[in-house]
């Protein structure tokens, strides 16, 4: 017997079932007051479990000595241990890396974006796409290629080029300066195109009339760049600068791909690398957590100073 519901209802001998009372539970779940809470609840639950709880736990752990099966409260001892020569080395490496990458990844993308936005450059789409390509490969994959190109042998790409110019080959991964150079180069290479995109998007917002007005006043290209373009790029510059600083302090992979666990004389050790080494490899989680808390404080302070200096807290017109 396969009757369609329609023929059931219209057939006279079929008794129509009473219309069901609207389900109270469904009515409750469908009310405009409850629905938003249902929509955000998975997020809230995962936020509490996977973000807020670990954040609090990290601070608690940083005051503990954690060994399997025995956890002991040891006060500030982890923190007094953090400030040691190895940490200072990691911090200075990271700081140099942050300064270099931020300077490079703000200045060059602005210049390149302005040029890409102008009428001077042809084949814009091609240039934009090719500059963006490096962002697609993971740091591990691109780092592996860099490692092979900057190999120690005379025949590896970089040394080969130096050789043609009559310069002696370099042990890239074994000098402090060249180690830093490799990390900065890898980062700059990977993110240049992304930052260019940010600036290109911001350039679309600059009103064309301003340039026309400047033209009438007889402003040079450089003056137009300084007085018209740059002020409009300020918000996105602050944004790019802030995320570059934070990403720089969190750097780990660039160092890992060149030296894995340890670099000679810690030339490639970063703060997160030190956290990983102590917290995971040495299984000293309390100490690792303390490094993490110090790192977070550093990031907060630096971002805060940066935001004040760049005037992000100032109101319009001040």
């Amino acid at each position: 017997m396969s009757q369609t519901p329609l023929s059931r209802n219209t057939s006279p001998e079929y008794t129509v079932p009473p219309i069901k009372e609207p389900n109270k539970l469904f009515k409750f779940l469908n009310s405009k007051k409850v629905v938003p809470y249902i929509f955000v609840s998975p997020f809230i639950i995962s936020f509490l479990i996977f973000s807020l709880y670990p954040a609090i736990q990290a601070i608690i752990m940083s005051f503990q000595s954690i060994l399997p099966g025995q956890i002991e409260f040891i006060g500030m001892r982890n923190y007094s241990r953090v400030f040691n020569p190895t940490f200072y080395k990691a911090l200075s490496n990271t700081s140099i890396y942050v300064v270099l990458t931020v300077v490079i990844l703000v200045i060059f993308p602005i210049i390149l974006a302005v040029l890409l936005d102008s009428k001077i450059v042809k084949f814009k789409t091609f240039f934009r796409a090719s500059l963006f390509m490096p962002a697609l490969a993971s740091t591990i994959v691109s780092g592996m290629v860099f490692r092979l190109m900057f190999g120690e042998t005379d025949t590896a790409t970089a040394n080969q080029i130096l050789g043609w110019m009559g310069i002696a080959p370099v042990d890239w991964r074994f000098n402090a300066w060249s180690g830093m150079f490799l990390m900065v180069l890898l980062c700059s290479w990977k993110w240049m195109g992304v930052n260019i995109l940010y600036f290109l998007a911001a350039l679309q917002n600059v009103p064309k009339e301003l340039y026309e007005a400047a033209d009438i006043d007889g402003a040079s290209s450089l003056k137009k760049f300084i007085y018209v373009t740059l002020p409009f790029l300020k918000p996105v510059t602050i944004f790019v600068g802030t995320i570059s600083v934070i990403a720089g302090f969190r750097m780990f992979e660039e160092s890992f791909v060149f030296w894995e666990a340890g670099s000679p004389g810690n030339i490639g050790l970063t703060v997160v690398g030190y956290l990983y080494q102590q917290g995971i490899q040495q299984n000293d989680m309390g100490f690792g957590a303390a490094i993490g808390v110090v790192l977070m404080l550093i990031i907060f302070i630096v971002s805060f100073i940066q935001l004040i200096l760049t005037g992000a807290f100032k109101k319009e017109g001040q």
Binding site: F26, N30, V35, F39, V40, P42, F43, I44, S46, F50, S51, L52, A55, Q57, A58, M61, L112, L115, I120, V121, F123, F126, F127, S130, M133, L136, A137, S138, T139, I140, V141, M144, V145, F146, L148, T153, T155, A156, T157, Q160, W189, M192, V194, N205, P235, V240, R250, F252, E253, F256, L275, Y276, I280, M285, A289, G292, V293, L295, M296, I299
Partner: protein, 279 residues
């Protein structure tokens, strides 16, 4: 500057761009070229610019497709983790972003503050407690351990909220008058309208999950569970001579990303810029 003066400038700038583009593409082109060269030579010399063209062959590809079973295991792990992460994080983040943008409810600002909180606290500080949690839940060395913390995608929530703010609220009201349920309105009417933002975030989240390194490095323990970046990194030892897998394998990790990118390029750019410009 008049036109005559501009001409040499044009030339210089364009040539500079050709050079810069070449530098940007050089490592990738070098990787492609190297994938046809004997692994033994790469091990001895690194990637060198001068080589014997007659040594080019498909041997590395033959090897990786026939013998490198571990590599394809990593590939499978990465694909599973990336796909599940994309689906779950988009599903939950879009709901949150939509609710934050289009519903008035008590605690809305608090939820938005939660989002900003995760954006500000570096993952590295949460890492050790999360690792402890995974040990207690006996999830170490499972896909679940890699995926769970990624279900919260604050950047995606932020992005979806920005996007949903621009959707017409009147549509919701008229659908309500027609008797649609709130869930019907979301899944049948509003979510399809958010499709471009979903595409953008699918790529950003996918790229993040596919290339993620530190967290999988901590929670994945056995070689057979490794993701691609992890597996490839383990081959980078001073004694390693697996350059056939390393080179061709690295190249092939980029393939899914390129495919994703080609399909959604338009959205990818908007996905990158919305936070920076509108933010």
């Amino acid at each position: 500057m008049n036109k005559k003066q501009l001409k040499p400038v044009k030339w210089i700038v364009n040539i500079a761009f050709v050079i810069i583009s070449f530098i940007a593409l050089f490592p990738i082109l070098n990787l492609i070229l190297s994938s046809f060269r004997p692994a033994s030579e790469i091990m001895r010399n690194g990637i060198s610019l001068v080589f014997d063209p007659s040594s080019l062959s498909l041997n590395n590809y033959k090897f990786i497709f026939t013998e490198a079973t571990t590599y394809w295991g990593w590939y499978g792990n990465s694909l599973i983790i990336a796909i599940v992460t994309i689906v779950l994080s988009l599903f939950f983040s879009a709901m949150v972003g939509y609710a934050l943008a289009l519903y008035d409810f008590k605690g809305r600002n608090l939820v938005f503050m939660f989002v900003l909180f995760i954006l500000m606290v570096p993952f590295e500080i949460l890492m050790l407690p999360l690792f402890q949690m995974m040990i207690k839940m006996q999830l170490v060395n499972t896909y679940t351990a890699v995926i769970l913390p990624a279900i919260v995608a604050p950047i995606a929530v932020f992005f979806f909220r920005q996007y949903a703010l621009g959707l017409p609220k009147e549509l919701m009201d008229s659908a309500r008058m027609d008797g649609a349920s709130e869930y019907g309105i979301y899944f049948k009417i509003m979510l399809p309208l958010m499709a471009p933002s979903l595409a953008a975030m699918a790529i950003l989240q996918g790229l993040g999950a596919w290339n993620n390194f530190l967290w999988p490095l901590i929670v994945l323990r056995s070689n057979s569970m490794f993701t691609l970046p992890l597996g490839l990194a383990t081959m980078l030892t001073p004694y390693g001579n697996n350059y056939d897998v390393l080179i061709t394998g690295s190249l092939m990790t980029i393939v899914p990303i390129i495919i994703l990118f080609i399909f959604f390029q338009r959205y990818f750019v908007s996905g990158l810029t919305v936070g920076g410009v509108k933010g």
